[in-house]
Amino acid sequence: MADAVALPGGAQEKIGRGWGLLLLYPVLAAFVLLFVAYPVAELFSRAVMVDGKPTLAVLGKLVADPFSRKVFWNTLLLGAVVAVLGTVIATAFAYAMTRVAIPLKGMWHFLALLPTISPPILMALGLILLYGRRGLVTHELLGIQTTALYGFRGLVLAQLISYFPFAYLLMLNLFRGLDASLEEAASTLGANAWQVLRTVSLRLLMPGLAGSVLLLFSYSFADLGNPLLLGGDFPVMSSQIYQSIIGLYDIPQGACLALLLTLPAVLMFFAHKQLSARTAFATVGAKGSSRHRLVRHRGARAAALAFVGLVSLVIVLQYMTIIAGATTQLFGINYTITGKHLVAALTKSRGALLDTFTLAVVSSAVSVVLGLLIAYFVARTELPGRSWLDFVANLPLAIPGTVIGLGFALAFSGPPIVLTGTAAIIVIAFSVRSLPYGIRSGVAALDQLHRSLDEASTTMGATGGQTLWRVLVPLVRPALLAGMVFSFTRSVTTLSAVIFVVSPHWSLVTPTILSQMDRGDVGEAAALSLMVVVMVLLVVHGVPHLLGRDWREAR
């Protein structure tokens, strides 16, 4: 590598010569202000402004209203139960996968991650078909007609299946990262597998466990699809926001609810951030080993296999049911095999599928490019305000999708900017929601590079912009593509962020599935859900294959 001789003028010189790239900085800042800060601010202003005058009346009425209070506590209770149970399941699953000798690990892993690439609304659909009033298990097998699924229990179940995989991924990486020699030391000192787990592994993973709890909490808060379909007599904030806006057209009340939903969500988010910073200490250092010894005890293996198998079975049942629902006349009533729903999904709903695909692809590119630029400005320049840019651009991680979606719908339905009914509002909503992940992949990509690399190129006479394109981009492409795939998945599966911004011109799959289910077209809903899963699977597994080996290894 060429010796980078510092040029006279140093950093200033460098920034001065990269003026082309610097022009983008205000553009980015404007984008982030306009499409992250402004919609949220607009939404909150609707909560505390009526007829142009500031007032706390709506908020006060809401806080005083026993029903609203109940909704608020319901939301917290559901979040807490899902967070704790989900963390327990995720931790046990990750432990079985990383520390116990069980067969077919690849398959269990694949199955456990299926829900992460499916719209959460699919879980509600599967549960209804299996355990609903005319559910396969409840009605056909057990012969009971019950509404027990609707309400708290159903929501817990649906959200657990939808979101535990995210916690599992988190715990999996933490378990893998633990220094193996610590667990080995414990066992040579006389600790059996259970004692090792209890006194060493779990203690070290404490911040990670808390992180998982907070993560699940925020997923539960933000979930809209499951509460809409399964909520029954257990209303939560997100579904109440939807009712206020769509049902009652009471914007101030919806906005107030959104404000109340955002507060705990943001709190959790920052608590989570604090914790993740601490987990780093517990993971394996340079001298540690990450080759973990597997538990061979027969009983433990059997128990682990039974547990992993049971969880996987619940997930598999969901998908089998969706497949069955998509290929029978009317699941629950008429089990005659038919291809008509699948045909309908590819004809009637083709517009929704194509629109979703196109808009999600475009916005994944947008969020990754913007994310890379923001990452570059934050990590590689000394520009004023860059930490604020970073902060605001990352807010969509903390703010529930419903809130962002509603903010968009309110902010861009009137002057100064009208976007209602356009593809742009959807693309921007998708991009904004994925922007934090775009930044993350941008940071990861830039981190992989040796700093001297871009310094070397700069001293060789390239401007900042040329540095970015010629030297950095080819090297960071793998991380960016991973970010794009992730962002694509997120966009395709979200309901909450788009339900308020869809229009007849641009239809999306998740709202379409929702309305199909409202109409009772479970067959079409199941068929379309299936198409979504297949589409995401093709992208998630297909893109790496198309791009070849190096890309998969980079992940």
Binding site: E184, S187, T188, G190, L204
Partner: protein, 370 residues
């Protein structure tokens, strides 16, 4: 720590141990092959060998952290080969110490006692003893992260000692310390092990460490034990050229036994004849003559001695190393700095004298790689 706290030392017998690591696609790499070693009760034995020869694999297998294909491990005649790690009562000191970062020094040391549900008073007394033994009485409340490397190392030793193990294993415990501290801590380790009398197996690839610590040294090569003997014997009478080379510099010269007497043999090397005490089963007539660099001296060239020219001189402070060409062979000679008044220059002709009875004879095949 008083001897009243220790259990009687145990004998360790490892026989015919085979261990390999499974790789992808059903392949496996052998790491330990037909490994045999016996440690007398209370003995301190060092496994010495180059990187990758299988030292860590042996230790980890003994501790129950690795599976193995064949062989037997006996402690006082009882097999422990099938016991899980936590039932073996074998203390292992890791290279990176593996102290629990979330527990204080006290809790780290108390860990094994707490697992055994010892009464609290007993725990406190034993931990205090152990910490005192390693000179860290004051450090109980600290977290491992707040200790220096040497202190962490000693906590790791105390943690292994406090459970009164049947066997103590050390995997390069000093490799993370700086040179000075290493010398100091190794002396302490030796003292501690002697006072406790626990049988110990110690892994290192540092020959000085092995020499200074051990009752016996087992030199390993490619998964096997090449020689087990007392440090002096390993140095002075290595069984193979590999062992000789691993524990120091050596000149391996071709030679021939030209006469055998009742208690002496005459060996010819470098065109010079040497008397050597006869050992039973001595090789011959062709032999490999091993002469340590300090077993040779530079003298004024004269008749009846091998002569050569100095090709290179390296001053190393307390000693000087010379490369001397004698015919077609190059020999290395090391002299202590004070041994010579007149400096020798490169290119100068010199004579070579052998220090009496300081050479070692090997059969020629001991010099070929096995």
């Amino acid at each position: 720590m008083t001897t009243a706290h220790t259990t009687p030392a145990k004998e360790l017998r490892i026989s015919r141990l085979d261990k390999s690591y499974a790789m992808s696609r059903g392949r496996s790499v052998p790491a330990v092959r037909d490994f045999n070693l016996t440690l007398a009760p209370g003995e301190f034995v060092t496994l010495l060998g180059p990187s990758g020869c299988g030292k860590t694999s042996v230790l980890r297998t003994l501790a129950g952290l690795e599976d193995f294909e064949a062989g037997e491990i006996l402690l006082d005649g009882r097999s422990i080969a099938r016991l899980p790690a936590h039932q073996r009562r074998i203390g292992l000191v890791f290279q990176n110490y593996a102290l629990f970062p979330h527990m204080s020094v006290f809790e780290n040391v108390a860990y094994s006692l707490r697992l055994r549900r010892e009464p609290d008073r007993q725990v406190r007394a034993d931990v205090a003893h152990a910490l005192e033994a390693v000179g860290l009485s004051e450090f109980g409340p600290r977290l491992p992260g707040q200790l220096s490397g040497g202190q962490q190392q000693r906590v790791a030793v105390a943690r292994a000692l406090v459970m009164k193990p049947d066997l103590l294993l050390f995997d390069e415990p000093l490799s993370n310390l700086d040179a000075k501290l290493r010398v100091q801590v190794r002396a302490e380790l030796r003292r501690l092990q002697k006072s406790l009398g626990t049988t110990a197996l110690y892994v290192t690839h540092d020959q000085d460490e092995a020499m200074s610590l051990s009752d016996r040294i087992a030199v390993m090569r490619a998964g096997r034990v090449e020689q087990v003997d007392a440090p002096e014997a390993i140095y002075a009478r290595p069984a193979t050229l590999f062992v000789a080379g691993f524990v120091g510099k050596v000149n391996a010269l071709p030679g021939r036994i030209v006469a055998r007497g009742a208690d002496a043999v005459t060996v010819e090397t470098l065109g010079h004849r040497l008397e050597q005490p006869a050992v039973p089963g001595a090789p011959g007539p062709d032999v490999l003559v091993l002469a340590r660099p300090e077993a040779l001296q530079l003298v004024e060239p004269g008749p009846g001695m091998p002569t050569g020219t100095v090709e290179m001189i390296e001053y190393l402070g307390d000693r000087t190393e010379y490369r001397v060409r004698v015919g077609s062979t190059q020999v290395t000679v090391i002299e202590t700095a004070l041994a010579r008044h007149r400096r020798i220059a490169e290119g100068e002709p010199v004579g070579l004298a052998f220090v009496a009875r300081a050479i070692h004879l090997l059969p020629p095949e001991a010099g070929t790689p096995s």
